[in-house]
């Protein structure tokens, strides 16, 4: 077996040094009835690279790839172009095959890129501090609510109806078992929700997404003031990180915590994971934050360096009193995100954001001309919602048969909500061409 360096001679010699006759003797503490006499039944024997490649490639070939079709899906995961440099450099073994940086003297590479990542996320979100990542946007959202509960010593969270339903559900799962309450509104495809009226003296936080799951862009300033007046925290959710290159960041609008999904930069769609949870907050809440934090310090020779810090919040030190149970997070995804953002730089990132918006505006223009189709959004970034006047999931399935991946039917996101059957959420990015848009417009035109 190609991955196992020990030879039969090595094994014999090692057994002799230990003073046992066989490996079986080393397993003598396992109840005899539970020890298998040989390789487990029902699984194949080992395979060479070629066989593995054949088998997995056959499975991969059964999927329709985003790049092979006019493609308009968003809904919390976006298809962006990732520079070749990113995927090449994250595969350097020194990044790829290192563990969490517990020994800082030989983990400065990881620690420095995570420090840079924290700095970038703080800039993007307009917040004072950011952590070294969470699993994904949805779990970051749920953890932010827990953090708000701890900070305010309250236990009722108000969730916007236009929060991504997976974020809502992930938070609701935690709420059910942790015992906090969530107040959530119905999805509002038109984008006008009155969240202020749901805040009261028991509210720990309001969770609101911008751009929201239907693509509406929100000014959070008034909501932030309303939260502050009632002693609740405002948690802003961003599922499309590229939007932060163009839109006023939540931090500038008064958010207390900003969480988001970082997949848009550097990370492939990969059927939903692994992605990257972004987590930023005002500095005064730092001791309630979940996750790893990297801090700057100096070494014994006075040279600048970085370490894991404020660990007294974390499970390996505080155990049941920790701010979160999180341990492994999304280190390599944070590297990909950070590297993509470094490559873009200020000029590239802001241009990319404008390019995305321009593509979506163009798509809206092309679709807006179609008879029987209505665009619901006044404002949007790179994603908006259309009413196709008939069941959107059927339209999507029909177009998929013609080789067009048309968007996300609202019923896929909200299977239990009424009145959404005809709605389709469509996104455009820098990858979307005019030909793609024309194909979608033509396809829709023929069906409607």
């Amino acid at each position: 077996m190609r991955y196992l360096p020990l030879t039969e001679a090595d094994r014999r010699e090692m057994l002799a040094e230990i003073g046992v006759a066989s490996v079986a003797e080393l397993y003598r503490d396992v109840p005899e009835a539970a020890r298998l006499p040989g390789p487990i039944a029902g699984l194949p024997a080992h395979m060479g690279e070629l066989e593995v490649e054949r088998m997995l490639s056959a499975m991969a070939a059964k999927n329709v790839t985003a790049g092979s079709a006019p493609f308009f899906l968003g809904g919390g995961a976006y298809r962006h172009h990732v520079p070749a440099t990113v995927d090449s450099l994250i595969q350097r073994g020194e990044f790829l095959t290192a563990y969490t940086p517990y020994q800082p003297e030989i983990a400065q590479g990881t620690l420095q890129f995570l420090f840079e990542f924290q700095s970038q996320v703080a800039l993007l979100t307009g917040m004072e501090v950011a952590n070294a990542s969470m699993y994904d946007g949805a779990t970051a959202c749920a953890e932010a609510v827990m953090m708000a509960n701890r900070t305010t010593k309250r236990s009722r969270a108000v969730l916007a109806g236009n929060l991504h339903p997976h974020y809502r559900d992930t938070t609701a799962t935690l709420a059910r078992f942790n015992g906090f309450e969530i107040v959530t509104g119905a999805p509002t495809p038109g984008g006008k929700e009155n969240l202020e009226s749901r805040i009261d003296g028991a509210t720990s936080c309001v969770v609101v997404q911008t751009p929201d799951v239907f693509g509406h862009v929100h000014d959070l300033t008034a909501l932030a003031a309303a939260c502050q007046a009632k002693g609740a925290l405002l948690i802003a959710v961003v599922t499309e990180a590229v939007s932060l290159g163009l839109l006023t960041p939540p931090g500038a609008m008064g958010a207390d915590i900003v969480v988001g999904e970082g997949q848009s930069l550097g990370i492939p769609l990969s059927y939903g994971g692994p992605y990257l949870g972004l987590f930023a907050a005002k500095e005064k809440y730092i001791r309630q934050m979940p996750g790893r934090l990297i801090g700057q310090t100096t070494d014994a020779d006075g040279r600048r360096g970085w370490v894991l810090t404020l660990s007294t919040r974390e499970q390996h030190i505080r155990r049941e009193k920790a701010t979160s149970n999180i341990c492994t997070n999304s280190g390599l995804c944070a590297l990909a995100f950070s590297m993509h953002l470094t490559l873009l730089g200020e000029a590239g990132f802001t241009t990319l954001a404008r390019l995305n918006h321009a593509k979506a505006v163009r798509l809206a223009e092309k679709l807006g001309d179609l008879k029987g189709l209505r665009i619901l959004n006044d404002g949007f970034f790179n994603e908006f919602t259309i009413d196709v006047g008939r069941r959107a999931n059927k339209v999507v399935n029909k177009l998929a048969k013609r080789g067009i991946l048309a968007g996300v039917p609202a019923t896929r996101l909200f299977p239990d909500s009424d009145g959404l059957t005809d709605l389709l959420v469509v996104a455009a990015t820098e990858c979307t061409t005019d030909a793609d848009m024309d194909a979608l417009a033509r396809g829709l035109g023929e069906l409607l």
């Binding site: 517990y102 420090f115 769609l269 470094t342 991946l405």
Partner: protein, 497 residues
Amino acid sequence: MTSATTISGHQGLQMDEPLIFELDSPGSSGVDLPPPPKVKSRLGAVAARNGVGLPGLSEPEVVRHYTRLSQKNYAIDSGFYPLGSCTMKHNPRLNEKMARLPGFADVHPLQPVSTVQGALELIDTLAGWLKTLTGMKAVALSPAAGAHGEMCGMMAIAAAHEHRGGPARKRVLVPESAHGTNPATAAALGMTVEAIPATEDGRIDLPAFKAKLGFDVAAVMLTNPNTCGLFEREVKALADAVHEAGAFLYCDGANFNAIIGRVRVADLGVDAMHINLHKTFSTPHGGGGPGSGPVVFSEALAPFIPLPAIIHDDDGYRLIETQDDDDGTALAFGRMKAFHGQMGVFVRALAYSLSHGADGLYQASADAVLSANYILAKLKDTFNAPFEGPCMHEALFDDKSLKGTGVSTLDIAKALIDEGFHPMTVYFPLVVHGAMLIEPTESESKRSIDQFIATMKGLAERAKTDAASFHAAPTLAPRRRLDETAAARKPILKWKK
């Protein structure tokens, strides 16, 4: 001892590398984008922002920056990384290649199910492997890491108790040697945690557990093999007692690598166990993730899984995202995260499984256990082993032999850095004073292990006469010891102008 000084600040292959913010050439970019078409902005109520404040670098500068950073990292690819409890085994590059097939990497999670049949087949195939390897009834694939899997397993247990009715069960018993994530997870779910001390031989105190069991106990969380590297011989008796009390046995599967392919946890009476694909199944840790923590469930817990689930029937593969009687998900408890799990990690884990096969896994776990016992045998006269062997996949030593030398476990770790090794896990488990937990995995050659053993013996010898050299270590790494106290006292968590 101070480091050699140079004019440039570099030292041979070790390049002193500034932060990206200090390399800023305003206006530069490493990406050429077309100018955005002129359109009428439709942002609505929100104003466009006036800059972000990011630095600008060209592509060559970016490549150099990250290459230099990478050279400051120790990794499995560079050397022996015996970090106990972390299973730093070889990460095959075939896995990377497979995860990057466009059919897996370039697929959106909300595409019509008819267009992702291969993705669902892959997940279902991996699920089959995990169920067969553990003998368990069901598996939840969506948890994103080990601690997330623990949370999923404990949620399933809470849901099962809730469904059965009866008085609330809020107590959770854990051995004192448990990973910190166990009590943190239970506490996050509103449960109270009681730690039970171990016996003299480093294992669970069965009578103590039995005495604490009662009808208000939700679960016992057990790590097996435990964090002392020992197999819990009385696991079956514990499971029986736990079940008799109407509670469930949760197993922390972080140490699954010791028994994979040789012992099925279903045969030990376990009700739920998470599996760290980023440990046992060789998917890369990437400096702290991403991971993946699928949870296998016994018959009793199988209905109480999170969503989504995958069903394979005459219509092909279906993704079940809502509770449904017909799909057998009426008691499922909802989402753990967005979308369907860590697909990129699943591909790597399946590539690993197929490469090993049943025979390869049977050999791999044996090699991991053999190598740990070899280290235990060769070092037990030099360092003190607090517990009698055989051990499983990791060898545990305490700091007794260092007493009076002025050298601590931490000093040994830092001296190992200068010797070109990654230190073992230190000061964990907490039940052993100055713990050194060494996990070689099956990926090390005998030559590599022998070199480590010789180095450890040499360090032990030097500790008797030259404590000062230990206190100065490391001197040959990219940095010497870093001031963690100062970092925590006045946190600097981002770059400032």
